[in-house]
């Protein structure tokens, strides 16, 4: 069952993973096995990947093949229902805290687009501008503006407008959505929410009452203009594993208010350029590759700042090979190089010392540049009118086609 968090006491001893902070123990790596154990979710094993391939009749996404999305809750129930002909809808989101998006931000959206195409299901995307207004102390106008700007990058990931509804909390909260928020809020005591999220007496009441906002998009009745006749439609939430606390709370509440528990499929954290122990931060542009980076920027950042597992000298490297455990270019290729055979080859040669760091970096630069370039072209085609259309409260008659 869902386990209780006790972050305040264990902060020094253990790793901390919650929606607002992610840090490993003693400046080391995140221990994902421990995390799965502590959170109580399940490992996503190869049998799931195969099953998805069978059900969708197409090769599974690279993130599934490489174990980027590695944990889940109730994915088997979603797949069982799908096999019986019962569809589901997808729910994901973004907290628009900054204008600049980096590749790590795109990962859940790239994967969600694949899920939308493969399963032919609708998608709701929540922009939590209210959350950022509260946590980052932005003005209401600024957080709304950032939400719209981020929406453009999200749309550029290739979502189908006839099956996708994007909404910002400031615009949409109210009506049926708010009714569900109150239903959820009534089921969560103050003590419980403090336990899950670590709030203190100094935190303002906005923060304390925010969690239901992120919980209720899991319930189809929150979107009467989309799902009015489908009250028991299931929901699948692709997200990074640090969002798990919100949905543990939601899954706890759902049966008490007569709704299905949402299912989750969760991803690893995207490492900073400087290595797993480094922190990706918006104030350090060299810690990540941004979607606005030029080819020159990408080349510079990878060559100068990527932490590698190569040895100090060529001789040593040829002798011992690279340390693939900590090598960032290999990790990034793991995320973004589509060709499984090529990746295996690079890992083998680099690990044995026959391939040099420079070559691996060069290949990574190619892959990233192509990715960023494709994103930029798609982004250039996104107009303000298109954002308005994606965010309009309108019916989606073909959402399951």
């Amino acid at each position: 069952m869902e386990k209780k968090e006790d972050q305040q006491l264990q902060q020094e001893e253990e790793q901390v993973v919650n929606p607002w902070e992610v840090s490993a123990k003693d400046g080391g790596k995140i221990d994902y096995d421990k995390l799965i154990d502590k959170f109580g979710c399940q490992r996503l094993d190869q049998s799931f990947v195969d099953r998805v391939q069978r059900l969708t009749s197409r090769p599974p996404h690279v993130f599934l093949r490489r174990g980027v999305f590695f944990a889940h809750r109730d994915l088997n129930e979603i797949l069982d229902a799908y096999e019986r002909g019962d569809k589901f809808y997808l729910y994901t989101g973004r907290g628009p805290s900054s204008e600049a998006l980096h590749l790590g931000h795109l990962i859940p959206f790239m994967f969600t687009k694949y899920l939308q195409d493969a399963f032919k299901v609708p998608l709701v995307i929540q922009l939590t501008d209210d959350e950022k207004c509260m946590w980052k102390n932005l003005s209401v106008e600024e957080s709304q503006r950032l939400a719209r700007e981020n929406a453009k990058d999200i749309i550029a990931c290739g979502f189908d407008i006839s099956k996708t509804f994007i909404f910002s909390d400031f615009d949409y909260v109210g009506g049926a959505f708010y009714k569900n928020m109150v239903k959820v809020a009534k089921c969560v005591t103050y003590n419980k929410v403090v336990g899950i999220f670590g709030f203190t007496g100094e935190d303002h009441i906005g923060k304390v009452s925010f969690p239901p906002v992120q919980a209720v998009p899991s319930f189809p009745s929150s979107f009467p203009h989309l799902f009015s006749s489908k009250d028991d439609l299931r929901c699948l939430i692709p997200c990074a594993i640090d969002q798990d606390p919100y949905f543990r709370m939601t899954r706890d509440v759902a049966p008490r208010i007569g709704y299905h528990k949402p299912a989750l499929i969760e991803s690893l954290f995207f490492p900073a350029l400087q290595g797993e122990t480094g922190k990706m931060s918006a104030s350090d542009p060299n810690s990540a590759i941004y979607v606005t980076d030029s080819a020159k920027d990408i080349k510079f950042k990878v060559n100068k700042h990527a932490f590698t597992g190569g040895q100090e000298s060529i001789e040593k490297h040829r002798q011992y090979g690279a340390n693939l455990e900590v090598d960032i270019p290999i990790k990034y290729l793991n995320f973004f190089l589509e060709d499984d055979a090529e990746l295996e080859h690079i890992k083998k040669e680099y690990g044995a010392g026959r391939m040099l760091t420079g070559e691996v970096k060069k290949r990574l630069i190619e892959v990233l540049t192509e990715l960023v370039e494709r994103h930029r072209r798609a982004r250039a085609a996104v107009t303000d009118e298109m954002v308005d259309a994606f965010m309009a409260v309108r019916p989606l008659p073909n959402m399951f086609d």
Binding site: E141, D160, R376, R379, A381, D384, M386, A389
Partner: protein, 319 residues
């Protein structure tokens, strides 16, 4: 041509906005206006017409005694310390279509002012009524914030009030709080020569128009603006904003041709001989499938958006 004061007053009446009007000799400053309507039960407003270095324009409409510091405002908009200055006299006529001394939030009714951002002093909401010039400075009208909002909404703008005297810090972790007021539409106006700014009034306050009562219409930056061109980034050709089937097909053919040409070479002919056709087709399908689907999705989304826009602007048949 721009709307006249009569057209504006008629429109206000049509919208059932409650206002009082007072005619008086032409006034160019707040002080002069005060002589005629200062005791008529409405607060006076001062209205500034400003411009930034990228030729974007702003109307700032405030209570006469609200302190407006252009340096602070410039920073809060994200324009740096000296980013805002008084707009040249010529712009008053060309963009707002009002005479000197007549800057007023009502000027946004003109098409030429479509991209002008409007900042409204929240102090206006605290007054029962405020005085503004209705596009001419031989007349002043007073109305309340509610009436002003109603008017602004009828022009398609979303009124939003700001604490103009606030001076929040702006830095790395504190983004400019008024950045939302930067106009996002491309300015379709010619590059006006940078002339001397509009004359100062005797108190030394920079006022382009002695409009006192301020119905200030806040501009929602990405509001109903038709002409929004995306900036091309770093040499990448911007994709077409309209769903052009011809261009779409050209892009598809381009990509396929490029791949085809790279697949057929002396080596590959030697290697595959008669089977080259099958081999190339397999490769094309594998490599291009996702790329072409993405292009098609962009095309679909663009076409849908065009239809959506048409739908929300459609005028039902008159019965």
């Amino acid at each position: 041509m721009g709307s006249s004061k009569d057209q504006l007053l008629v429109r206000l009446k049509e919208l059932q906005i409650d206002f009082s009007q007072y005619e008086h000799p032409v006034v160019l400053t707040v002080e002069a206006q005060a002589k005629y309507v200062g005791n008529k039960g409405g607060a006076l407003s001062k209205n500034l017409f400003l411009k930034d270095k990228k030729h974007r324009y702003y109307i700032v409409s405030a209570l006469a005694d609200t302190k407006v510091d252009l340096k602070v405002l410039s920073q809060r908009l994200g324009l740096g310390k000296g980013g805002l200055r008084m707009a040249p006299e010529q712009a008053l006529g060309e963009i707002l279509q009002v005479p000197l001394g007549c800057v007023t939030p009502f000027a946004v009714v003109n098409e030429s002012a479509r991209h002008v951002s409007l900042l409204l002093d929240q102090g206006i909401k605290t007054q029962e009524r405020c005085f503004f010039h209705p596009l001419s400075n031989d007349i002043s009208i007073s109305l309340d914030a509610h009436g002003l909002d109603k008017f602004l909404k009828s022009t398609g703008r979303d009124p939003s009030y700001v604490d103009l005297e606030a001076n929040p810090p702006v830095g790395k972790d504190q983004p400019p709080d008024l950045a939302a007021f930067i106009p996002s539409g491309s300015t379709v106006l010619p590059d006006l020569p940078d002339e001397a700014p509009a004359s100062q009034d005797s108190t030394g306050n920079h006022v382009s128009a002695g409009t006192k009562s301020a119905a200030v219409i806040a501009v929602k930056p990405s509001g109903n603006v038709q002409n929004v061109k995306e900036k091309p980034v770093n040499g990448a050709r911007p994709s077409i904003p309209s769903a052009d089937a011809g261009k779409f097909v050209e892009e598809l053919l381009d990509k396929t041709s490029t791949l085809l040409l790279s697949e057929i070479s002396e080596d590959s002919i030697k290697q595959h001989g008669g089977q080259l056709g099958t081999e190339v087709v397999n490769n094309i399908q594998k490599c291009l499938r996702e790329d072409l689907k993405n292009l098609a999705t962009i095309f679909k989304n663009t076409a849908y958006t065009e239809g959506f826009y048409a739908g929300i602007h459609y005028q039902p048949k008159r019965l």
